[in-house]
């Protein structure tokens, strides 16, 4: 053999071996336990992969079938997935369900870490395909398939909170909200094999936290278990699947749904009370959380009362600091008011007639002084501190505004109020007696039904007075239906004069078109907190009855709409409400809840009819001019601060003190 050639070969081999050493040091793989925890960290590359979650093993379990399939496509994985996706759509169109299911599995195998595939196709299975079947048992099977598909996906995407989030949604929403929810919930409760399968692959559904009163898994609570898992994943570094508010509300929301579900199925006693107590606790945990907003700050939903007190404190400090300057400006503004306006301010909000309402509205806007104006009027040496105090007011107001916006997004106040209400004895008694009365009526035991109904009405009345929020939910619909049955039972067209729920019925009749209005919901939800001791129904109905009276413009008042001189004797005609102007001139947007005795005297929402009566322009000739009010543009009135702008409390006009300045 040629010695030179041999030498060269040996050198090459040695060089290769020498290069292999650093290569090994760099690329040595990490050794992991089955649960993914590391036994040995491996080389630098392995450590970097692990640090930045770049390794496929960091995304989730590696499936040999998936890997071999991906290799078999020779780099054309995307093309193969696209073809399969098209085929899946064809199968769906032509209703080849088995093949669709098989094709979806193939797509998932090809792209196991593409979360949207799992989300989209599991939705297809559980929501779109299940409804194609007429038999609810077959539907249930397809709902389960979607869930199983997601469970399978969770294995490959262990750090993605979308998977448990979607699972939580499917368990709760699909099984608990669909038309066949009663059947689905029942099937699920008893589906031991399914529980065992999910336990084996993902989650122990027989966990105590997921069991209903019958000690069987409840779909809402099972869903909640998955949300809790998603929250744990976030604690360990994963990103939330949705915005923080929407993400973290789900656990408590599912607890309320669970409690509602129990009630719907006739569990009205202690089981329901315990469920609502649990929901209240869940809501409190959620309400105490610090939530990052899109405004850039962090808020806590439960802190609204404290925030308002902070605002009042800041305003008082500001007024105190500005002293004479402020008082002088206020007096100046006050001197601009007419005697009618001053008189209107002295009347309690809900006792004002329409003229007074208008006058008070105008007066409030005049008395509303921007703190910056006050600061500018201060001597130059005091301006810096004045500015700082004004800034504190602005920040406090902004914070309250953000909290209110977020609370309204998820109807937080309503659910909080509902959770409290449903734990009351009155609620249990009201629901139980009404349920029993309906049953007795079905059986034909009329006398017993009558007695039960009467007990129920009293309990409902107590409950509605204490928690007005209960008057706008599904329970109130049931009460109305039961009252209809009761009326037929009495065989009289009219209810008794002393019927306990007469006010409730009137409220419902007045607001029948506004029940889902977020402003109304927020108003009734926060009423108890905002105005302890004040009776919502009395004030609301009184105000409605005043505002329903025809408006008579004073002889010396010129019409607000030029060129529309109308005979003064003509009553205003109701005109259709403009979008965004459906509420009464006062309290159309709830003011912040202030747990304070001398809280602002904003009134409950007025009748929708009266709202219509204060619309902008009379629609036709021969109709009296209608005064323009701020409500038309959605701008809140001074004595009923809105949640979005005038979130600060205002001293009640009937207290005889000048209103506090409302900085812009």
């Amino acid at each position: 053999m040629n010695v030179v050639a041999l030498r060269r070969q040996l050198v090459y081999i040695l060089a290769m071996v020498a290069l292999l050493v650093p290569l090994y040091m760099l690329g040595r793989p990490s050794v992991r336990k089955k649960d993914g925890s590391s036994i040995r960290d491996g080389g630098t590359l392995a450590q970097l992969r692990s640090k930045y979650d770049l390794g496929q093993g960091d995304l989730g379990e590696i499936d040999p079938a998936s890997e071999s399939m991906r290799l078999a496509t020779l780099g054309l994985r995307g093309v193969a997935a696209t073809i399969l996706w098209q085929r899946a759509e064809y199968y769906k169109k032509e209703k080849y369900w088995d093949r669709l299911s098989a094709t979806l599995n193939q797509i998932a195998v090809l792209q196991p870490h593409f979360v949207k595939v799992w989300e989209f196709q599991s939705h297809n299975l559980s929501y779109n395909i299940s409804v194609e079947f007429d038999d609810y048992r077959q539907r249930y099977e397809w709902v389960k398939r979607g869930i199983e598909y997601l469970v399978q996906g969770s294995k490959y995407n262990k750090n993605r909170t979308e998977m448990p989030y979607e699972l939580g949604w499917f368990f709760g929403n699909k099984m608990g909200v669909a038309d066949e929810k009663k059947q689905f919930r029942e099937l699920y409760r008893n589906d031991n094999n399914f529980h065992a399968e999910i336990a084996e692959k993902s989650m122990d559904l027989t966990n105590e936290a997921g069991l209903g009163p019958d000690k069987k898994p409840d779909n809402w609570l099972s869903g909640r278990l998955f949300y809790e898992r998603a929250y744990e994943m976030v604690k360990e570094g994963s990103r939330p699947a949705r915005s923080p508010l929407m993400f973290y509300r789900m656990s408590s929301s599912w607890l309320t749904k669970y409690a509602e579900g129990l009630q719907t199925e006739g569990e009205l006693g202690d089981a329901a009370r315990v469920a609502w107590r649990r929901a209240a606790a869940g809501l409190k945990i959620f309400g105490d959380m610090s939530i990052q907003t899109t405004f850039g700050d962090e808020i806590t939903l439960n802190i609204i009362g404290q925030a308002n007190q902070d605002l009042i404190k800041a305003e008082n400090e500001f007024r105190e600091f500005c002293g004479a300057t402020y008082q002088k400006m206020l007096d100046g503004r006050r001197s601009q008011l007419t005697p009618e306006q001053l008189e209107a301010l002295d009347v309690e909000d809900y006792k004002r007639n329409f003229d007074q309402l208008m006058s008070a509205e105008q007066a409030s806007s005049v008395l509303d002084i921007d703190p910056k104006e006050v600061v500018n009027a201060l001597p130059s040496v005091e301006r810096v501190k004045g500015f700082q105090l004004a800034e504190r007011i602005r920040i406090a107001k902004e914070y309250i505004q953000h909290v209110e916006v977020y609370r309204n997004q998820i109807n937080y106040g309503y659910w909080k109020s509902r959770c409290d209400a449903e734990q009351e004895d009155a609620a249990i008694a009201a629901r139980t007696n009404m349920f029993d009365a309906n049953k007795l009526l079905d059986k034909g035991d009329l006398d017993a039904a009558l007695i039960k109904y009467e007990v129920a009405w009293k309990s409902w009345n107590d409950l509605f007075n204490k928690y007005p929020a209960m008057m706008i939910d599904d329970a109130a619909d049931d009460v109305e239906s039961a009252i209809d049955r009761y009326r037929r039972l009495l065989e009289t067209p009219d209810l008794p004069k002393d019927f306990p729920l007469a006010s409730f019925l009137k409220f419902r009749a007045i607001n029948k078109d506004n029940m889902a209005d977020p402003a109304l919901m927020s108003l009734v939800a926060d009423w108890t907190t905002r105005h302890p001791g004040r009776d919502f129904l009395t004030e609301m109905l009184q105000k409605s009855s005043i505002l329903e009276k025809p408006y008579m413009p004073p002889a010396n008042e010129s019409p607000l709409v030029p060129g529309r001189d109308q005979p003064a004797s003509n009553p205003p005609e109701a005109t259709p409400a403009l979008p965004g102007a459906t509420l009464a001139p006062t309290a159309e947007v709830p003011s912040p809840a202030i747990e304070k005795k001398d809280a602002p005297a904003d009134a409950p929402q007025a009748a929708s009819k009266s709202t219509q009566a204060i619309e902008i322009i009379a629609p036709e000739e021969g109709v009296a001019p209608v005064p323009a009010v701020k409500a038309k543009s959605g701008e809140p009135s001074g004595d009923a601060p809105s949640a979005t702008e005038d979130t600060k409390p205002v001293t009640p006009p009937d207290a005889g003190t000048p209103p506090a300045p409302v900085p812009k």
């Binding site: 169109k93 088995d98 098989a102 079947f133 199983e148 094999n193």
Partner: protein
């Protein structure tokens, strides 16, 4: 599964009444005329008009007078053997190894929780086999002859006393033999794979005193069962409910004073039902005959709907309904769809009724109520003695065979009885059941369909390889294969069903971003008309081409096997006839090309 109306024709019905023979003859005649014309043009260029004509006719004469009569099976056999050995040398058995690996790991990709596991397994093995065998046929047939010609090894054969007919036949038969050998092995393995894959057993976990109970949860399902009292009152035999398209027998035996239950193998998964299909028509809301039902908004128009609690109905007409064919009871199976316009009673399905009647409408049975079962086969056994009416007069007993179908003709009427709800149906969704064939035999027929496709591919491959180089021949055969498989889409383009115009119009529309549903607007009517006429010419040519090509998709009968329908004998015979037709046609074309090459050489 969808069985199209043309698949239900009997063999002779297809051959004579539905122009099968005429279509074949037309393709042969057009190809012959076209071939003659093209060859003559080529010959004119080389030899002039008179001699060219002579050359062409001489070749035809030689085929008819010399080569064909003198072809001997001994030489064909020898050449086929050579082709077989050559294929084996080219390691075609690797295909078998791929198939086995596929079977071994196939289970990983198949969902055992599916509603019908056998259907999935059958589809998997038959699709896999089909792809492998067709690819094998493609590669073997396209590259063999060009390689021989290129390496001049063809001369060692051509210089022997063999005829071109024998060379072509030898190649086709040799490659077919290789493919057949592999296909048989694949078929046997597939049978074992499907039977083993779909088999499962349950244990009895709960039994009540009344003989009802539950089985264990295996293969991702469980059954309830009910024991039936025998003649002496003992509960020795029973059956489970149907889950995942099958049920089990349950046997009870007493051992040592204790009752022991045994659950049998799954029944209904590996079926081969022999259906008798009828012709479907509808009646509209006025009760008058109509050819179509309603569309409830489905994109697919395969299923038509009838409205509940109205005079709308679906009417199936059957012939040959005799006791000898169906037995004492009349078995029928349905697969109807339900569509609700309102929630209604969720627990109870949408309800309907079956009426059997004589086509003259004078005699009809009582209304037999049923609740729809969707996406599952709903088996009904109708007692031959039913209550009914004769000319409107109620009768206590009517005999299906003697009174309703004395001449073998029977109508089955389906109505939906829930107001505001709908039933969906297509022609194959209700059929009479004329017994069961065996699964193994049905699987064999399914594989026979694959075999026929393979033969077609080999014929086309050999034909193209006589005048094209290997890769080009493969592309040509592949094109024929794709066009054959995508025949439906191509037909739609060719006959203008697909909106957006022909190829030229589409090319113009694309850069203009013009929607397919709007009229072509170039601002010049003459130009638009010219383009559309050109497109029509191209489309008619495409239409003729697609008609001449074998429709590979129609040869695929794996769905019959998967969905448990016995493949109709008429359909198999039809496919065999078509294959033979293409075999003759391609062999003749291949002969002429080979002969021409030889002359050129």
């Amino acid at each position: 599964m969808r069985i199209e109306a043309d698949q239900m024709y009997g063999y002779f019905e297809w051959l004579f009444l539905h122009w099968g023979l005429l279509h074949g003859a037309l393709v042969a005649a057009v190809m012959a005329a076209l071939g003659f014309f093209v060859c003559y043009i080529v010959a004119i260029k080389q030899h002039g008009p008179s001699e060219g004509f002579f050359v062409v006719t001489r070749v035809i004469y030689e085929l008819i007078a010399r080569d064909l009569p003198n072809t001997t099976w001994r030489r064909v056999y020898a050449l086929a053997k050579l082709a077989f050995q050559e294929a084996i040398r080219r390691r075609v058995l690797v295909v078998m190894a791929v198939f086995i690996v596929g079977l071994l790991f196939g289970g990983w990709f198949l969902d055992p929780g599916t509603d019908n596991v056998a259907r999935l397994y059958i589809s998997f093995v038959m699709t896999g086999t089909s792809y492998l065998v067709l690819l094998l046929g493609l590669f073997l047939s396209c590259f063999s002859l060009p390689a021989d010609i290129k390496s001049k090894t063809i001369h060692t054969i051509a210089t022997k006393p063999v005829r071109n007919t024998e060379i072509v036949l030898g190649r086709v038969l040799g490659f077919t033999a290789v493919g057949t050998m592999l296909l048989v092995a694949m078929g046997i393995l597939s049978y074992v794979f499907v039977v083993r894959g779909s088999d499962h057993r349950h244990e009895i976990t709960e039994v009540a005193a009344d003989g009802t109970g539950k089985t264990s949860y295996d293969a991702r399902h469980e059954h309830t069962f009910e024991m039936i009292a025998g003649e002496n009152g003992e509960l020795s035999q029973g059956a489970t409910n149907e889950k995942k398209s099958h049920k089990h027998k349950v046997l009870a035996t007493v051992k040592d004073g204790k009752t022991v239950y045994a659950v049998g193998e799954p029944e209904g998964l590996l079926a081969a039902r022999i259906p008798v299909f009828g012709k479907l028509r509808f009646t509209n809301r006025a009760g008058e005959d109509d050819t179509k039902g309603l569309n409830v908004g489905d994109e697919s128009e395969y299923v038509a709907y009838i409205e509940g609690n109205s005079l709308m109905s679906g009417v199936w007409s059957y012939s040959g309904v005799t006791q000898a064919r169906f037995g004492d009871n009349l078995p029928m199976e349905m697969n109807l769809k339900a569509f609700r316009t309102y929630k209604g009673d969720i627990v109870t399905g949408v309800q309907g009724e079956i009426i059997l009647r004589n086509p003259n409408k004078q005699i009809e049975s009582e209304r037999i109520p049923f609740i729809v079962r969707e996406f599952a086969i709903d088996h009904k056994e109708i007692n031959r003695k039913v209550k009914g009416t004769v000319k409107g007069e109620p009768k206590e007993e009517i005999d299906i065979y003697e009174d309703l179908a004395p001449d073998g003709n029977l109508e089955v009427v389906i109505r939906c009885t829930d107001g505001g709800q709908y039933f969906g149906m297509a022609q194959p969704d209700l059929y009479l059941l004329a017994g069961e064939s065996t699964f193994g035999w049905n699987l064999f027929k399914g594989f026979f369909g694959i075999w026929l496709q393979m033969v077609l591919i080999i014929c086309l491959g050999v034909m193209f390889s006589t005048f094209l180089s290997g890769p080009v021949a493969m592309v040509a055969t592949m094109t024929a294969l794709v066009l054959g498989f995508c025949g439906n889409m191509a037909f739609d383009i060719a006959n203008g069903k697909t909106p957006g115009g022909g190829p030229i119009e589409s090319m113009i529309r694309m850069p203009m971003q013009s929607g397919a549903m709007v009229e072509l607007d170039l601002g010049n009517k003459v130009l638009e008309t010219f383009i559309q006429k050109c497109d029509q010419g191209i489309m008619y040519t495409m239409y003729a081409l697609f008609n001449a090509l074998p429709s590979f998709g129609s040869f695929n009968t794996s769905e019959y096997v998967a969905y448990g329908f016995d493949i109709f004998g008429g359909l198999v015979a039809r496919h065999l006839t078509m294959t033979m037709g293409y075999f003759v046609l391609t062999s003749v074309i291949a002969y002429f090309f080979l002969k021409t090459r030889e002359m050129a050489a």
